[in-house]
């Protein structure tokens, strides 16, 4: 069983080959503007080490922080037409009503609210106003909107109005990317709608990014299926990930945390992953990131869907540094560090330049940053330390010192002593922890349906069995399946004691030859 795990960060593309549960090879290549050549470069480096010879590769699993970075940095976002089905209800709180103004200005391409939606018991709230949907779709086309987010009242219970509206929009606006909020989720119109709007804003970036991944795999001559890793540490097929990029939002961070756990053997610890552009801080519980069980803010937007509970800050190895007044990030030179960083002959002062001047890392030309005197270095590194300490404290669930695993290419920005931290742990291959996490990602099976005339326990048991079958069908090893989520919501006023049950199970990818060794 051999798998390639790849993490495409804003700065570096990391790749590992995992063989029988061990890291066989790990390489790093700069992320390229077109994504593809960076991955090809990484494949090339794997080949050069002999890592791709011999036995076949069973899967290529890619995780990326691209989508999250786009929202945080307000870049590469697509204008979105928001279509809400639910008038005359909820009119005083239209789509985008609780967005940060700067992000709303970039993403909002127009808001249309028409009659439709359902009651909590399945009755229509108002009949869907198909003519108004068609009119909205035409206006969107006239405005050149190519991505549409559709939300409807109670669509998680009955998605039919969203589906009908999507069909009309597709007729009027062929080729438009359409996100239905019911695909993302949970009860809570604004939060579900927000997740849908963000998903729609990533339509072009998701399309281009995943196409680039596929081109790179083909170009390297590999014959292995592509999987994209998701927020919960599991994988999805490429087509699914392209349609729902928000489910890959935090996959970079999740992979780093899972990789950190795998490499350190620690199941309960804080993980700080310093990339080129952002730092993610989260807490491991039993080897998995703690899942956020309430609203998660992404780039300042309230959302409610499957996400790890973590904090992202604009601190990385490529972060811009300004000295008067002192400020780090959130802008970053990203993958252009080896060109634009001062130590590399460029003109942009970055955190890496300061670390090079301080002798923390041996890259670039130290002479070029000799003008950064010890006082400046201390101020900048002190600011990075302060930013990390503040976030570690915010992620904590209890007072007291914790063990902290520092991973990622920018981990040199994490000092050995931090307030509230008992010890800082650095692991071998820690700079590729995210790629390791991608390679060990698991397969999930999910069921979300209404059961009638069953006792609660029986309904949950039935749903669990179905979810397990789905996971196995998707390639999971039945012996390793674990239930990670169970939720049931009774639905009143439907005949026969109806209950909606959602169950999710995960397991390791079944190995063709011998099971993948558990990390713990």
């Amino acid at each position: 069983m051999r798998r390639i795990g790849i993490d495409v960060g804003g700065t570096n593309t990391d790749a590992v080959v995992i063989e029988d549960g061990q890291v066989a090879v790990a390489v790093k290549a700069p992320t390229s503007e077109d994504v593809t050549s960076g991955i090809l470069d990484a494949f090339g480096r794997l080949k050069a080490t002999g890592g791709l010879s011999g036995e076949r590769i069973d899967a290529v699993m890619i995780g990326t922080t691209h989508f999250m970075n786009a929202v945080v940095q307000r870049r590469h976002l697509t204008k979105v037409g928001a279509l809400r089905l639910g008038m005359p209800a909820s009119a005083s709180l239209p789509p985008f009503c609780d967005w940060p103004p700067d992000l709303a200005r970039l993403v909002e391409g127009g808001v249309w609210m028409v009659e439709g939606g359902h009651e909590y018991d399945g009755r229509p709230f108002m009949p869907l106003d198909g003519a108004a949907v068609r009119q909205a779709a035409r206006e969107m086309r006239a405005r050149g909107l190519r991505s549409v987010a559709i939300s409807a009242i109670f669509s998680p219970l009955d998605p039919s109005h969203e589906r009908e509206a999507a069909a009309i929009v597709a007729q009027e606006n062929p080729g438009a990317a359409i996100t239905c909020s019911s695909d993302l989720g949970r009860i809570g119109l604004l939060e579900r709608e927000n997740a849908g709007l963000l998903n729609a804003a990533l339509a072009d970036l998701a399309h281009d990014t995943i196409a680039a991944f596929e081109t790179a795999i083909r170009g390297s001559g590999l014959d292995a299926p592509l999987f994209i890793t998701q927020n919960d540490g599991t994988v999805a097929e490429a087509a699914q990930a392209r349609r729902l990029p928000v489910y890959s939002f935090a996959s970079g961070a999740t992979n780093s945390m899972r990789g950190g756990a795998y490499l350190s053997g620690l199941d309960d610890a804080m993980v700080v992953d310093v990339g080129g552009t952002t730092t993610d801080i989260g807490q491991l519980r039993s080897g998995f990131p703690r899942e956020a069980n309430s609203v998660v803010r992404i780039g300042g937007v309230r959302t409610l869907f499957r996400m790890p509970d973590l904090i992202s800050i604009g601190l990385g190895g490529g972060s811009h540094v300004t000295l008067e007044p002192l400020r780090i990030g959130p802008l970053s030179v990203g993958y252009r560090l080896p060109v634009e960083g001062i130590a590399f002959g460029g003109t942009q002062l970055t955190t890496s330049d300061v670390a090079i001047a301080a002798g923390l890392i041996g890259i670039g030309d130290r002479n070029r940053v000799a003008h950064l005197d010890p006082l400046i270095r201390a101020r900048v590194l002190g600011e990075a330390k302060r930013m990390i300490e503040e976030s570690v404290d915010a992620v904590k669930t209890a007072a007291g010192d914790v063990a902290l695993i520092a991973v990622g290419g920018g981990a040199f920005l994490v000092p050995d002593r931090l307030e509230g931290v008992a010890r800082v742990i650095r692991v071998r291959h820690g700079d590729c922890a995210n790629a390791v996490g991608a390679a060990i990602a698991q397969v999930s099976g999910e069921v979300d349906q209404v059961f009638r005339d069953l006792k609660r326990a029986d309904a949950i048991a039935r749903a669990s069995a179905l979810a397990a079958d789905r996971a196995v069908a998707a390639g999971a090893d039945r012996a390793t399946l674990e239930t990670v989520e169970t939720e049931d919501i009774p639905i009143a006023y439907l005949p026969g004691n109806s209950i909606r049950v959602r169950v999710r199970v995960v397991g390791n990818v079944a190995a063709s030859t011998g099971a993948l060794r558990q990390g713990r």
Partner: protein, 360 residues
């Protein structure tokens, strides 16, 4: 000075504090807060008036959004429908309301009077009729006082308007208005029986808007300064910590328009090894430690996120959450034998005698 303008900061603190006083129900005030943010951005302002300032023959409107909080998360509250319920009552009774008060300070209904007050340009009266959240119409101080239960107006955003002109009792009001609400889709904006200034001064639970703002301020300040928010609440309210632990299971069933069920907790720290169960009917009603009832209505049982100090509702509590359970003292009016008939454990079907967490 008995009147003052709400700052937007006050309204944000009110939302946090009212959610805690909601004892698991009443719905999150977030959407009411969003409505107020938009209204304040448009330049509207609302002021708060002490109940003591009312003349005996003033008329006061009592408002609430009725229904399942779950529905409120999809059919989002709109300031115009609650204002319409009050306007409809004025049309029906020909009274001119001096001010607008909350039926229940707990949860989203704390913001409803502010939303109505914006459109009708009246002050909000600093009082309510529950001091918390409760699921039924007769579970109020005015019902304990045997004040007149009618008339009542209900409004749905689709143009449905119903007036319940006369009922013989609060129980009948509960049954009839609940049926209307369920037909509307389990959500309705309502204006309850109008109250005179004299009635509000005698039977209202006073100062609860101010109290909710104080609790909310304490939590927000603790969050800002990374101090323990639970301790911050207990510094402004004479409450008690009942339990700390993690959610192990949640069982819900929707019956007769209510969300009933129970949550099981497993203890940590001082409570390691001791299981807690909390039964709910929209709100937390009885907390059992090792199968012994240790806290019950009308004592306020508040389940809080151990980290943020913010309230966790019966609809949103989920497996794995780290929670702290605290009790806050109830309004005096509910501690009389008549009060306990309305809101004591037997009113919720538990054959146990009320014993307060705060009894000596």
């Amino acid at each position: 000075m008995t009147r003052r303008e709400f700052s937007f900061d006050d309204i944000e603190a009110l939302a946090v504090g009212a959610w805690i006083l909601g004892t698991g129900g009443g719905g999150s005030p977030y959407l009411g807060l969003l409505n107020m943010r938009r209204l304040y951005a448009e330049g509207h302002r609302v002021s708060l008036m002490s109940a003591a300032e009312l003349a005996d023959d003033d008329w006061v409107a009592a408002v609430s959004n009725m229904g399942a909080p779950l529905v409120g998360q999809e059919r989002l509250t709109d300031s115009r429908t609650i204002a319409r319920a009050v306007a409809l009552m004025e049309e029906h009774t020909q009274y001119r309301f001096r001010g607008i008060m909350a039926l229940e300070i707990g949860g989203g209904n704390s913001i409803q009077p502010l939303m109505a007050a914006v459109h009708l340009r009246r002050p909000v009266i600093d009082a309510d009729m529950m001091g918390r959240a409760y699921p039924e119409a007769q579970m109020t101080s005015v019902a304990v006082g045997d004040l007149k239960p009618c008339p009542l107006t209900t409004v749905d955003v689709r143009g449905l308007e119903t007036i319940v002109d006369n009922v013989p009792s609060w129980k009948w009001m509960e049954r009839v208005s609940r049926k209307i609400c369920v037909e509307y889709g389990s959500i309705a904006s309502t204006c309850k029986a109008p109250r005179t200034g004299r009635e509000v001064k005698r039977w209202g639970i006073h100062g609860t808007t101010t109290k909710a703002i104080a609790i909310g301020r304490a939590v927000r300040e603790a969050q800002r300064t990374h101090r323990d928010p639970i301790a911050a609440i207990l510094a402004v309210e004479p409450g008690k910590v009942l339990y700390q632990g993690k959610v192990r299971d949640v069982e819900r069933r929707a019956t007769e328009g209510f969300l009933r069920g129970r949550t099981l907790l497993e203890g940590s720290g001082d409570w390691r090894g001791a299981a807690m169960r909390i039964d709910f009917q929209n709100e937390w009603i009885v907390a059992w430690l090792e199968d012994q009832p240790i806290a019950m209505s009308p004592d306020l049982i508040c389940v809080l996120d151990s980290v943020s100090g913010e309230a966790i509702g019966t609809e949103t509590i989920r497996y794995g959450q780290r929670v702290t359970v605290i009790a806050l003292p109830p309004p005096q009016v509910f501690l009389t034998p008549k009060g306990l008939e309305h809101v004591g454990p037997r009113a919720f079907g538990y054959d146990i005698d009320f014993k307060s967490v705060f009894a000596a």
